[in-house]
Symmetry: D2
Subunit: 147 residues, 4 copies
């Protein structure tokens, strides 16, 4: 459960629970998506406002389910950039239960840099590469405790 | 269960079921929304493509829950225009289980005619009024059995 | 925006946003449901674990939409008991944007006391009535700052 | 787009569309889940009623996104069993647009045979193995046209 400079807290909603009385398997991807968007905002790569400026499009997503998540479990989702290709970005995720100090699921997504205005894939912009490398190598630039 | 010229079939998804092992109460509104969008398309009021042309914005929604809906229940949602004001449109809904021939829930929504390009409410366009009145008074213009 | 002893914070998820680029109208009911479950837990009426012990079943829900909610808006949902009948409980809700200090939506639900083990409605238990009246009349019994 | 004896039709709901105005990436997994449950019912491996009898638990899920899915696209999801291990079942999926005759996404899930009453993984029951092999080798046993 180490190796993440970024964690995003997630609340399990009542509606996230399915007939098996645990968080529905699909919702794990919603948790990852929520954390991924927050990660982009944190790194200054997206303003959280203009959806056509989000800059990446998903091409692959996967999740490995380790433990069922009960209603009421306080979660955090770790996100980090695993790799940067010419056009692609690979993020990895760790969905963790705070009180139990357990990893509930691991995920990975591959995105391609994308210009939603021109509707075409592009090379990963140098500014993205720089921001990600700075964040991932040196850790968060803001003091601890600031979300 | 009479009085609707328009019905839209809805499949209960596994993920619609919550911890009580029936369709989650919130999902009833998704069923109504799905049917409302199909109703607008059927009347030629929306092409189903341009989201800024959808022409109405929701101001109120309500649902009366009559019976719990189990996974696997074949449903249809009746939609009809209940009233047309200067600026507003009131739709009513009936969520029905086909095999049981039972009404599971009744709903009502109030929308206001809205120009999403100009971001302001508008008067209900005469073309809307005409299309709705023709459909609701005389019933579907296409032969019965055509969805 | 006064009159609520209980507020529950809600994070807008990326997936809550629909094609109109605001929180989907249905998701407002998810916010209310999430807050209602937290309210029951706070008052000691549900342990958050045994779903058959949740004690109420929804019979009506409504929402009045005042303002569209954008991605990134920090929300809190106020919940209070509006009325207690022989068998029914009426809750009201206020969905509020913290930074803007604005009410985005108002809601109301009617639930009936329900024994999920016996599958039948019951009278509102005296312990519920007592806990609710104590909380609503005198405010939260725990010191401020404790969630 | 060949090689599937089982297809399940899926309707894109208005609420499935996200801020990018295509089906949200997470919802692809809901489509696969919906189709997987229907596949189990079709093979007689689950009655669609008793959730503790569903017999499998998910341990891994992945999706490869090929094309964005627009609102109004008529979809079908192909499901087939890709492999049967001592304890595990691997299913593969193809999400296809009917009118365009295009594959929109490919998926794969790994489940483990599970006894929800005893809360433990079990060996894949011989009856499952037999039903799956019969269906996958020889195709559907019912006449074409029967869903």
């Amino acid at each position: 459960m180490a190796g993440f400079h970024f964690y995003h807290p997630v609340e399990v909603r009542y509606a996230d629970i399915d007939a098996q009385r645990h968080v529905n398997n699909v919702v794990f991807f919603t948790y990852m998506e929520t954390a991924r968007a927050a990660y982009l905002r944190r790194l200054g790569l997206w303003d959280g406002k203009e959806f056509l400026d989000i800059g990446i499009i998903l091409v692959k997503a996967e999740c490995e389910y380790l433990l069922p998540i009960a209603y009421g479990t306080a979660l955090r989702v770790g996100v980090r950039t695993e790799g940067i290709g010419t056009k692609s970005l690979t993020f990895s995720y760790s969905i963790e239960a705070l009180e139990m100090d357990r990893t509930m699921a691991l995920g990975k997504t591959v995105s391609v840099a994308y210009d939603y205005h021109a509707l075409r894939s592009i090379a990963v912009p140098p500014a993205w590469r720089k921001a990600i490398e700075a964040f991932e190598q040196d850790g968060p630039s803001r003091p601890a405790g600031h979300p």
